[in-house]
Symmetry: C2
């Protein structure tokens, strides 16, 4: 089981904490588009301005693959979506063609500056990955970025695809973890069969415990 | 010591977890402006579209006042700023007049849907507050929202003001916790004397431990 597209695909594109990216590195990219941009050999160009897109949610240390060593580093994951796709979702409860999600993993700090407890986000980026819908290239796809500006397509056999298809609340995406979008999907009636099945199973489980 | 404007001011405007706001409630407000809007009696009208502003950071259970009972509820705090202020900061390292920060506190979930560990953001909002700069009304001010659409001015004697003035990295704001803005402030040379003093003291402390 995984949440978001990152979790079971981490082995493909995880960056080490010892060599984190900096925001300045990403900003050297020339791709300021909010639509997908590819290289001639099919790589995806990282969207440099994703931090100015629409923010959807943040998790901390969620359900990671046991192969990832987070023993010494808690990690936040922030999710952004391109503004055009967000507007379409608010209106329809569905993701349009050319929807792009960026997942950004950041090292969590605990004691720093005047902070004494809990966790805050640091300048150290651990990972960046993309989940996008491009009908001209076969629909939804995942890309892992093990270099700052271009990312490799993750093969459709990877478990992230089947997990998203089976459990994503709307159209292979984990809208159940996007708090401002969940109610919109409910009102528009766009929940996936897999999500409704999961929810029904959880409700049965709770009922049987009574 | 506190981080952000929320922490020591929580008693003024904290909402109970038992009666959380919903996104739908906030969206009933008619204020879609990215500039401050006040009522005739000096209350601040909550900006309904703040989730479409620029996202700055998220913390989890950071350094809260001991008077706040979080024993059963972890909380995320998300920070957003109006797009005009963000653009000005990126260009200058300074906050312009009419800068508005929104701090949103959300209940953290742990086990839900397919998630088994860590923390994710739920639809339950615990608090919303604003820190804004309005030169026509005396400069920086805090507002607490104990109702969905209008907020009360927090008196300048409150400790959030002095803490922000003494420790905020830039112009009474905690840029040290906004990972994409910290380097900009460093490059532009806009760190506050208080922040530089804190950093020097921390460096001395580290040095003396060697």
């Amino acid at each position: 089981m995984t949440r978001f597209w990152l979790l079971l695909c981490l082995c493909v594109f995880f960056l080490t904490v010892n060599a984190p990216w900096t925001p300045a590195t990403a900003q050297t990219s020339a791709n300021n588009s909010t639509a997908p941009v590819y290289t001639a050999d099919g790589k995806l160009v990282f969207p440099a301005k994703y931090r100015e897109w629409i923010y959807l949610t943040t998790g901390l240390d969620m359900d990671y693959s046991p192969t990832v060593n987070l023993a010494e580093h808690s990690m936040f994951d922030n999710v952004f979506v391109n503004p055009e796709a967000y507007k379409a979702f608010v209106a329809t409860g569905k993701w349009p063609d050319k929807t792009i999600f960026v997942l950004e993993g950041r090292v969590a700090g605990s004691k720093g500056s005047i902070n004494k407890g809990g966790h805050y986000q640091t300048t150290d980026i651990m990972s960046r990955s993309i989940h996008l819908k491009d009908e001209s290239r076969g629909g939804w796809a995942f890309f892992g970025f093990d270099e700052p500006t271009t990312g490799n397509h993750i093969p459709a056999q990877a478990v992230c695809y089947s997990c998203h298809a089976d459990h994503g609340a709307v159209d292979t995406t984990f809208v159940q973890f996007y708090p401002t979008l969940l109610e919109i999907a409910r009102q528009k009636g766009t929940f996936s069969p897999g999500y409704l099945k999961d929810e029904a199973a959880m409700a049965d489980k709770k009922e049987s415990k009574k």
